[in-house]
């Protein structure tokens, strides 16, 4: 077994911008469907689907659940349907950077840390900039495991900070 999964090439890429995406304008329907899915089978709070309930809330309008993702399925930039095949390649990060990956077979979401700013409202256009924040590794139950941290920063069309997510991908 390799003594390290983190090559010199990989170390040199830490801090690099990996992706920049722009969403289509968020619709009230996108927000309703998200709320339905995360509260299923019970009814989501009315403020996610009823204009009057939203108007009476602290937000004054419909706002998306904090965990809402405006980039699913289709993005305005890059234009078109987001490719799904590459997502299943555990080395997609390194391949996108033009370097060799560690060649591990499996990947899991290890954890997330999110900080919130402005809420997402219908009509908002969200921009996401994702960076490779770092690599670490340690021995685990399933062998030597690689931890990759991705940091995504979202802003809206008024350039207001929306959220920053640090996601740890575990590969083994």
């Amino acid at each position: 077994m390799a003594s390290t999964l983190i090559s010199e090439d990989m170390r040199n890429e830490v801090g690099r911008e990996l992706a920049r995406m722009v969403s289509y304008p968020v619709s009230a329907s996108d927000i309703r469907k998200w709320a339905l899915a995360v509260y299923y089978p019970e009814q989501p709070p009315e403020r996610f689907w009823d204009e009057q309930a939203a108007a009476d809330s602290q937000w004054g309008t419909i706002v998306a659940p904090e965990d809402f993702n405006p980039f699913a399925w289709l993005t305005a930039v890059p234009r078109g349907v987001r490719g799904q095949d590459g997502v299943r390649d555990p080395d997609r990060t390194e391949h996108a950077l033009g370097i060799a990956g560690p060649g591990l077979k499996f990947q899991l979401n290890g954890g997330v840390s999110v900080a919130y700013g402005a809420p997402i409202r219908p009509g908002d256009v969200i921009t996401s900039v994702e960076r490779l924040a770092g690599y670490t590794e340690r021995e685990g139950r399933l062998g030597l495991m690689l931890f990759t941290v991705y940091e995504s920063t979202w802003t809206n069309q008024r350039d207001e900070f929306v959220k920053r997510t640090r996601l740890t991908l575990i590969r083994y």
Binding site: P41, E66, N69, A72, G110, G111
Partner: protein, 130 residues
């Protein structure tokens, strides 16, 4: 609203399996084989297909949001995915107030299975309305 240290939030529970996972996959474009196919889940070392970490994260937001109502907003939330969410589990998201500093309140949050095993432990900070 009770914001005393030690206060436990009303829990948020869901029976988990393809009925909730597929709906989440539909809105998050997350039709990943480990969440859809028992054989692929077993090949990855798990008992079968298992639920999305992002859905656990959503349930943690739900338990805090439902407790907060119109009295404040979520400032940050973090969790680790320690155990996978297996098919048929009843997952309960819970929270407990651990620190109160004026309008800033910190919570310990976690999801657990029906036997009380933690799946996704974490922390959340909220800001109460002035």
């Amino acid at each position: 609203m009770d914001v005393a240290i030690g206060h436990e939030l009303p829990p948020f529970s869901r029976e988990t399996g393809f009925a909730v996972w597929n709906r989440y996959a539909a809105v998050n474009d997350e039709f990943v084989p480990i969440h859809m196919d028992d054989e692929v889940g077993r090949a990855a070392g798990m008992p079968g297909a298992f639920g999305m970490g992002n859905l656990q994260l959503a349930y943690l937001h739900n338990v805090v949001r439902d407790w907060l109502g119109d009295n404040g907003r979520i400032v940050s939330l973090e969790c680790q995915f320690r155990k996978v969410n297996d098919k048929g589990q009843t997952v309960t998201a819970r929270g407990r107030v651990v620190r109160v500093d004026g309008r800033h309140v910190d919570l310990e949050v976690w999801t657990e299975d029906q036997d009380g095993n933690q799946l996704a432990p974490g922390r959340c900070s909220v800001l109460l309305q002035s």
